[in-house]
Amino acid sequence: MRSVLFWFAGLACVLLVACAPSLVHGADEHDAGLAVASAEARVVECYNFALEAERAGANVSELLRVLDEAGDLLSKAELAYGVGDYDGAATYAAQCEGRLAGFEVQSQTLRDSAAWQRQLDLMVNVVGSAAGTVAVLVGGWLVWRYLRKKHGATAGGAAA
């Protein structure tokens, strides 16, 4: 019984020693690869949010600045992964995703604000301008009609 216990204890020690490097290093190739792929996907997702905001007419300078910073971290993660620095790759990938935290909310706020501003702009400029044009035309026509009537009456009176 005791020898069996010793055998299991020995096996546990061997397994612990074998696993020690991965426990110390943290990220292995697989984990780092997943982290980098996740960061790449997140950057693309956020880029699409920025595109939507831009299409709505928002000023996306601030969003692009954040994306640039995240992109720089992503490049470093890819480089680290390429040279086998998996810890570095995982760290840079995590920093990249961290930099993009709250990006969706920020871009949606900008997009909604731009959409509202656009609507307001449309109302003031287009509808207001069109209504003004119609008012000027109708007003001009009424003045012309009034003057014509007055002129006609005066001319008629003079003729009589």
């Binding site: 880029y47 831009e54 996306v60 490049s75 400029n125 207001g128």
Partner: protein, 186 residues
Amino acid sequence: MLVASPVLSRLLVYPRTEFFTELWLLGPGHMAEDYPYNVTRGQNYTVFLGVGDRLGYCGYYRVEVKFRNQSQPVPESFGPLGNRSSSGLPSLYSIVAFVGDEMVWETPLTFSFDYSYNVGLGQVEFNSLTLNGVVLDLSGYVSGWNATRSEFYGNLFFETWIYNGTTESFQYHERFVGLRFNMTLS
């Protein structure tokens, strides 16, 4: 006309017909001059890389940093856009740039080379390129003596790739800029 001008300004807009991307490289004085040519080992050099977006939407660009000697493939410079291909050499580093429509993006690039001269083979053997503090491996890259031009040729170039939302991948954007060097032995 005065009252109608806001409406007219929306109706009478001349449509944009040309959509393209600009790519440039400026020298250390932020002008198109004084580009480094005679390069010394370990010496820092600075140039400015810029991208201008005229695509009608903000672009997600990757500028691939590549290095070649005289015998290695260069990206195609001629022929109509749509048929030009990239160099096929591996990228040393990707510079990511997000550029809004009608906006420009520019960054300084400070670089230095680490290389040695192999007397027996009469060639320059590269070790690394340090670009903005990032060390890039150049082991395996060599440059032989070009007697015609009296130089050890080196060419650092930058290819633009752009993210295509339809294919969900990057595609070569058919633009590149580069710097030609003489790797001096001093």
